[in-house]
Symmetry: C2
Amino acid sequence: MKSRSEQLILELGKRIVLGEYIPGEILPKVEDLSEEYYVSRTVVREAYKGLSTLGLVRSNQRSGTVVLPRSEWQWWNIEIMTWLLEDPNNKDFILHLTEVRMGLEPIAAALAASKGTEQDRINIKEAFQKLEQSVGDEKAWIKADYDFHESILKASNNDLLIGTIRIMRKALTVSREKTLPLTNDNQEFSYDSPTKAALEKHRMIYEAIMSRDEETAKQKMMELILRVRTILQKIFN
Amino acid sequence: MKSRSEQLILELGKRIVLGEYIPGEILPKVEDLSEEYYVSRTVVREAYKGLSTLGLVRSNQRSGTVVLPRSEWQWWNIEIMTWLLEDPNNKDFILHLTEVRMGLEPIAAALAASKGTEQDRINIKEAFQKLEQSVGDEKAWIKADYDFHESILKASNNDLLIGTIRIMRKALTVSREKTLPLTNDNQEFSYDSPTKAALEKHRMIYEAIMSRDEETAKQKMMELILRVRTILQKIFN
DNA sequence: AATTATTTGTCCGTATGTATG
DNA sequence: CCATACATACGGACAAATAAT
């Protein structure tokens, strides 16, 4: 169970991100919020501290707690990212995220090819074999696909990159799970479908990494993500 | 003036990031820290809430406040990033950051070429002209170089990408300012030096964006950053 | 399985600090 | 310089969770 201050952070943070409170606006003072939500001032204060660490608000004595401009937000926070992806008025965000992904995932593949250790390569090999065995099986494919990309990511041996891509992928997964039931076109919307053709695209990446060909690894990974981006653009525009 | 809880967040956060407290370790209980730092329990509690939002710790009833593994940290927080860059035992981080940059800045250049508005292009043009006028002037070059990259970044019209690269660049600037006085080799270490040759590299990017050639823009930007990476590797290895 | 001990979580009365008008 | 309005800080009390016994 989450503490009350955490619940309040979720409540207020979501409202800010979804634009219910706009940048520059003054939030209710601690005492008023405390009454409104039937919690102590302590809880409200801790919530404001959390929101302030997320870059969503800044508290000032006398003038109160103000909503900060979007440029101050901590975009790479899993909650904030999830809220942005859920926002139906903010379809741009998923495209923006995909664009960033176009930058990062190919780099991860290139680094896996150039810096991956022997153990990393063994892991990637095993993950690819699982993927081969999952053709035709939707559920198994999704997991194997996730693990395959994860094994490449780990082989980049770059903690920052690993953390960043993980958040991105987690947020996209949550968003997909919430959005999928609403669309007819599940097959096309998912990361990629469990077909023989999709497997071959993955094989290209796999073989490039194994032969330490970073340029090809980068390029083939880019092609995979470009396909997703094209699909998303079709859906949203 | 910073509030006491913020001071405490800085104090404890830095210690965690620099490895003085290691993941899994239990921090002192609220009451003890309160005595140690001569602050109220309220202040300590708010500090813990802030650190918890940064992904550095998690508080549990009865078992105390524990330092979380690196995979949970909010890497894209300006304080955390600055601490990591300052850490002399963590030379890898600046290389890792440069690798991420290799992913992001070229994408920003490509998007500027493909999606930049007329106003964006005017801004980039002006920024490049300033750069041309700064050849030979170290101080002016640094500013003009920053503004040139910033104008490209803005033209990507992707808030997420803009926010992310800004944090990265801010952290690198802080790090450079703190590290530079220690090295002899200032010229080579800086982003790039104010020479005619460096200007020509920038001109390639500029012209590619102007002619909406996203492939070339991406590639030339990548070359610029690859050079920095090579220099860093020389310095640190 | 029940009890206890320990630590965070919550509440609130009070006091101080600080920027604004 | 004073009054005001807000955040900030203090500390005593109790509630809730959970590890240890």
